[in-house]
């Protein structure tokens, strides 16, 4: 796949990976072995029928491939871009044993982009069910649940605290990885399904979760509020002016468009020597945003090794190509300021990896006497996030000791008629896992409301073909009408 040159792209917000042409996609699809035991399918959290959609690409049935994917994944253009494929579908691809695995994600993106460009939609025949469903939070979990419930005829309203829907997809992941137009296009498809978006609504404060099911009369509620609260390390110097969370940096840049200051009003003062602490996707995004906003040098400070970095492999590689310096096995112990309250330097310590910890990775232990200073004038924390406290403060939802919502296996919360899923249940995870949770809840909600659990997408080309999906005969699945 074509990519923008690292030197050029480090100065712009256009997408790094340009996407396949039809020929490239066909060539890549030909590499699939169509393994009879389909090992890649369980590698995908939502179990997309991967060989099937790739087969359709080789047959040039691109619309067909789209329908196969959207059977289980509503947002191929997004997941194709941001899934950590190397640890999911592509990680178990048989071709990967000897060669590069089949680029499942890129093929998926190709189909997703094609669908947006061509205006394909899978708006089914929808018969109103008379039920009203409220979704709290418009991230991938909420969007997925909203779409499923709208498709089976429910009147769905999505409440979002920000002024625009999309969750982390919008405020966190930068345009050079996931352009805003892609998200907007996917949200538009939901609107076509009849979903209402209510931004500027802080649930818990404007009304409570309990009020949704009582006075506001919703028959079912899904909570997908994400794990947005940033962590800091608690070392000296964190309140200096140049210290901020990656969330603040990314929100200012992406959602509030500080990168176009002063055309947009929100400021973001960039340092000349930036250190980003952490090595997850958020850290990579923060570093690459800083580069694009004109930081002189940007470095990554991480207490483990490269192969333990939680970011997608492609993101680490892209960051390296763009000239980010990596300080592995290093942790900051103090941030030093000057008389103007600005950051002047950070004091760091070298680490070595000891016995494996619960995560199975070597536990980093400080090397005595290894402290050193780095000249830095801006520090960005990307060391993970915690549960947002607002719903806990304002409802009787049962939370665990870290503040995440407690659910049973069916993702039902302690309030009847209320489910939760995504990062607010699992802690920070991935887009596709959040979407998977949203879909799972949708199927639970349908059972609860007495709605038939099936998609009502019309697949004319699948008529007569054998096979079951969601335990229902594909033929029946194509014609079923949902009734209340």
């Amino acid at each position: 796949m074509q990519e923008q040159d690292p030197q050029v792209r480090a100065t712009n917000f256009a997408e790094v990976a340009c996407g396949y042409t039809l020929e490239e996609a066909m060539r890549e699809a030909e590499r699939c072995l169509f393994c009879p035991d389909e090992p890649c399918i369980p590698g995908c959290p939502v179990e997309i029928d991967i060989p099937e959609f790739i087969l359709k690409i080789t047959e040039k049935s691109l619309h067909g491939a789209y329908e196969t994917i959207t059977d289980t994944n509503l947002l191929p253009a997004i997941c194709g871009r941001v899934c950590p494929q190397e640890s999911q579908c592509e990680g178990v691809c048989v071709v990967g044993d000897t060669l590069e695995p089949v680029a499942i994600g890129r093929l998926e993106r190709f189909i997703g982009d094609m669908a947006i460009a061509e205006g394909w939609e899978s708006v089914p025949y929808i018969e109103p069910s008379g039920f009203r469903v409220a979704i709290v939070g418009s991230g991938p979990a909420g969007i997925a649940c909203a779409a499923e419930m709208a498709k089976c005829g429910c009147d769905v309203t999505v409440y979002e605290a920000f002024h625009e829907p999309g969750g982390v997809l919008k405020y966190g992941i930068p345009d050079f990885r996931l352009p805003n137009e892609v998200i907007d296009a996917e949200i538009e498809k939901l609107r076509q399904l009849g979903v209402t978006f209510e931004p500027n609504t802080l649930v818990g404060r404007l009304f409570t979760v309990e009020e949704l099911v009582t006075e506001m009369g919703y028959h079912a509620v899904f909570i997908g509020t994400g794990a947005g609260a940033p962590s800091f390390m608690g070392i000296p110097g964190e309140s200096l002016a140049g210290v901020l969370s990656a969330n603040e940096l990314l929100t200012r840049c992406n959602l509030m468009r500080a990168r176009d200051f002063p055309e947009y009003d929100t400021p973001l003062q960039m340092g000349t020597r930036v250190a980003v602490v952490g090595a997850g996707n958020t850290a990579m995004d923060a570093m690459r945003v800083c580069l694009r906003l004109g930081a002189g040098t940007v470095c990554c400070v991480y207490r483990r090794m490269r192969n333990e970095a939680p970011a997608r492999a492609e993101e680490v590689q892209h960051a390296e190509e763009e000239g980010i310096e990596f300080h592995w096995l290093t942790t900051p112990v103090e941030i030093l300021g000057d008389e103007d309250n600005d950051v002047r330097a950070i004091r760091c310590q070298r680490m070595e990896l000891g016995e494996p910890d619960e995560s199975g990775r070597g536990r980093p232990v400080p090397v005595p006497g290894s402290e050193f200073e780095m000249d830095i004038d801006m520090v960005v924390y990307a060391i993970g996030t915690k549960a947002n406290p607002i719903l806990g403060q304002t409802s009787s939802l049962r939370l665990d000791e870290r503040g995440y919502i407690v659910t049973d296996e069916s993702l039902a919360t302690s309030i009847a008629g209320v489910w939760a899923g995504g990062d607010i249940v699992t802690g920070a995870a991935t887009v596709i896992e959040a979407m998977g949770a949203g879909r799972r809840v949708a199927s639970e909600m349908k059972a609860y409301l007495g709605l038939r659990d099936t998609d009502v997408v019309y697949h004319p080309e699948r008529r007569g073909s054998a096979g079951k999906r969601f335990g229902i005969d594909v033929d029946e699945h194509d014609y079923v009408r949902v009734t209340a």
Binding site: L244, T251, P389
Partner: protein, 298 residues
């Protein structure tokens, strides 16, 4: 689709035009009041809470305290001081009939009103507006309320009658002595403390430096003192950490842990230093905007 039995705001959702300004009042050439239609928020709001506003789609998200809310009229009231680009632009553009691009809230924890029997509510300058709902809340809960308001001079005063109507005693301070006591609000607090030995609580809202000195004034008396902090915010939902403040030996997010905190534990110097984080960009934005106004005016 079925009928929506509980339209959150007037039936068709939050269409962009729905945060309509229904009343505007100018108190001075820098302070103005905006009353905005938002029935659901008017019902949900409690003293001590705030909102986040975006005037237009290129605008900044700025926090403003709810100075009043009226469930009957279905409106919320903000009192704004024009200090920089956004608040001056709002001063120029927000007229009756126009709408805000975004308005979200109420945010933050409501004030704890229940237990105190005798309270001093202190408002410095613009702080008079945000402390008013609390004075009213205390009055409604049956407490004895002593109001202390402070302004630089008589011409800048606003809401004097409104505030006075919910107070049992009322002390006015002006820097230049043009009305009431000549001096700052701490002089008013001292006077109240001198006359009442049984004050349970002092609530002080105003510029950080004023709140710092109010805390200093009450500390020797050991009276519970509450301040409402105003650090720079982005989301107001606990997601960015920009609003972090030092309270005792802990770091708190003002938007979700506050905005009210125990004044005797707040590190005001840290707050004041952090408020200067964006001074350079703020000055640039203001100058650029003023230049464009001059050009537009010919």
């Amino acid at each position: 689709m079925s009928e929506n039995p509980d339209p959150v705001r007037g039936g068709d959702g939050f269409a962009a035009a729905s945060f309509e300004i229904v009343r505007r009042e100018d108190f001075s050439d820098v302070t103005y009041l905006l009353e905005i239609r938002h029935p659901r928020m008017a019902k949900a709001a409690k003293p001590g809470q705030f909102v986040i506003v975006m005037e237009h789609d290129h605008g900044e998200r700025i926090p403003l305290t709810l100075a009043d809310f009226d469930p009957e009229r279905g409106t919320v009231t903000l009192v704004v001081q024009a200090v920089g680009k956004t608040t001056r632009e709002m001063q120029a553009r927000c007229q009756v009939g126009t709408s805000l691009h975004a308005l979200v809230g109420p945010m933050g924890n409501p004030s704890r009103i229940e237990d105190a029997r005798k309270v001093v509510c202190v408002g410095g300058g613009l702080g008079v507006a945000p402390v008013y709902p609390q004075a009213r809340g205390y009055k409604q809960s049956g407490a004895y309320v002593i109001g202390v308001i402070g302004f630089r001079s008589k011409e800048l005063m606003f809401w004097e009658d409104k505030f006075r109507s919910v107070c049992d005693e009322f002390i006015v301070c002006t820097d230049d002595g043009s009305e009431g006591i000549k001096g700052v609000v701490t002089a008013g607090i001292e006077e109240a403390l001198a006359q009442h030995s049984d004050i349970d609580e002092v609530v002080a809202i105003g510029p950080p430096i004023m709140m710092k000195f109010c805390a200093k004034t009450t500390r020797p008396h050991g009276i519970r003192t509450v301040v409402s902090l105003n650090p720079v915010m982005v989301d107001g939902t606990g997601m960015c950490g920009g609003c972090r403040v030092k309270v005792g030996d802990q770091v708190k997010f003002a938007c979700v842990d506050g905005p009210e905190f125990d004044a005797h534990a707040v590190d005001f110097d840290d707050l004041i230093a952090r408020l200067r984080r964006f001074t350079r960009s703020e000055t640039a934005a203001l100058e650029r905007w003023q230049e464009s106004c001059r050009v537009a005016a010919g």
